[in-house]
């Protein structure tokens, strides 16, 4: 795999950008896909947001100064794009953010790309009750197995606060699963 610094240099130079961008997409598409999918839940919506994320990355790559890791920076863009997408969707449908989250989970039962059983559906219901940040921290840590330092860069939150959020999220989900 190509070193991140080399990739960034190639992305920031006009002549090598196109080729380097292809490498970037191939390297990160799966990780970003799963990150977005766990926020927007539907495959087609995820596909839209993933493409927008890469387009934003391409347009803003010159502004990337290397203060954080490239992939934390892309996670940040993907997170913002996903949350903005959901906000726009709820506005267009004329429903509240929470109502949209509930409907998204209901739609999973008929989704051909959701193969979860009853407990996994309950897990999604539990996740829908959490505030956005707690849900993000939980999925990034539990399912994507990211390090707290990387999540900290991506979400621009201290490691201490993340640990507290994660702990709280686990407790809430466990309580939900036990009670329902």
């Amino acid at each position: 795999m190509i070193a991140e610094e080399t990739l960034v240099q190639e992305l920031q130079q006009e002549e090598s950008r196109a080729k380097a961008f292809e490498v970037l997409v191939n390297t990160y598409k799966e990780r970003l896909y799963w990150h977005i999918r766990r926020i927007v839940l539907d495959h087609d919506d995820t596909d839209d947001v993933l493409q927008n994320t890469f387009i934003k990355v391409y347009r803003n790559i010159e502004k990337f100064k290397g203060d954080s890791k490239l992939y934390s920076w892309m996670y940040r863009i993907a997170t913002n794009e996903s949350l903005t997408f959901l906000k726009q969707k709820s506005r267009k449908m004329g429903i509240s953010d929470q109502e949209l989250k509930d409907r998204m989970v209901e739609n999973l039962q008929a989704d051909v790309y959701f193969e979860g059983d009853e407990i996994q559906l309950k897990l999604q219901k539990a996740l829908a009750t959490l505030p956005d940040k707690q849900k993000l921290v939980f999925t990034m840590k539990y399912f994507q197995e990211m390090k707290y330092t990387d999540i900290s860069e991506a979400l621009d939150t201290s490691v201490g606060a993340l640990k507290a959020s994660y702990h709280l999220a686990v407790k809430k989900i466990e309580t939900y699963l036990k009670e329902n």
């Binding site: 196109a18 961008f21 292809e22 997409v25 191939n26 598409k29 799966e30 896909y33 799963w34 999918r37 766990r38 839940l41 495959h43 596909d47 993933l50 493409q51 890469f54 387009i55 934003k56 391409y58 347009r59 803003n60 502004k63 990337f64 100064k65 920076w73 940040r76 863009i77 913002n80 903005t84 906000k87 267009k92 004329g94 790309y113 959701f114 193969e115 979860g116 059983d117 407990i119 996994q120 559906l121 897990l123 999604q124 505030p131 956005d132 940040k133 707690q134 539990y142 399912f143 621009d156 686990v170 989900i173 466990e174 699963l177 036990k178």
Partner: protein, 177 residues
């Protein structure tokens, strides 16, 4: 109490009937303890076959087609939207103040519901964050456009009831610099 004829040992009544259930309960509990949690390890999402092979060419084709159209406006787009929004607000306020406007149809002829419906249904392509960035509260006080003064305790009550996470109120810079 039942008696075992060969061994002369007794078992509590219903012991063997309920044995399976108790055993399964125990196994479930141990499983949960081993994993440290009852939360499932996978979340059940799947992707269409071949999706990850198709997504790269799709993204690359969008980059090539969008590049020439979008880049020239990139840096100033927000600024233009901002200027347009501020101009629209000033025009709106002036038309409210000067009621002597000789136009046959004035702003007052519009029902509030129509104006609200316009803002509700029209995609202004600006998020509330972007509007907040260009129109500061110092320039336009909320109380200028409200019939009743907005007291602090009403605001606090609203935030308490409607905001899950107070950190969400922090404006985040999404300029990706």
């Amino acid at each position: 109490m039942k008696e075992d004829k060969k061994n002369s040992f007794n078992t509590p009544e219903g012991y063997f009937e309920s044995f399976n259930d108790r055993l399964m309960d125990r196994i479930q509990k141990e499983k949960a303890q081993e994993g440290g949690s009852i939360i499932p390890k996978t979340d059940g999402f799947a992707v269409p076959v071949g999706y990850f092979n198709e997504v790269t060419p799709t993204v690359l084709s969008k980059i090539n087609t969008k590049k020439t159209k979008v880049i020239p406006l990139k840096t100033n787009r927000r600024f233009y939207y901002g200027v347009a929004a501020v101009a629209a607000i000033f025009i709106l306020m002036f038309s409210l103040i000067w009621e002597s406007n000789p136009e046959p149809i004035s702003f007052d002829d519009l029902a509030n519901a129509e104006i609200e419906a316009y803002f509700e249904n029209t995609d202004l392509e600006m998020t509330s964050y972007e509007i907040a960035e260009v129109v500061s509260l110092e320039e336009i006080e909320l109380n200028d456009i409200l019939d009743n003064d907005l007291e602090d305790d009403i605001i606090m009550e609203y935030l308490d009831e409607n905001v899950d996470d107070i950190e969400e109120l922090n404006l985040e810079d999404i300029d990706y610099e």
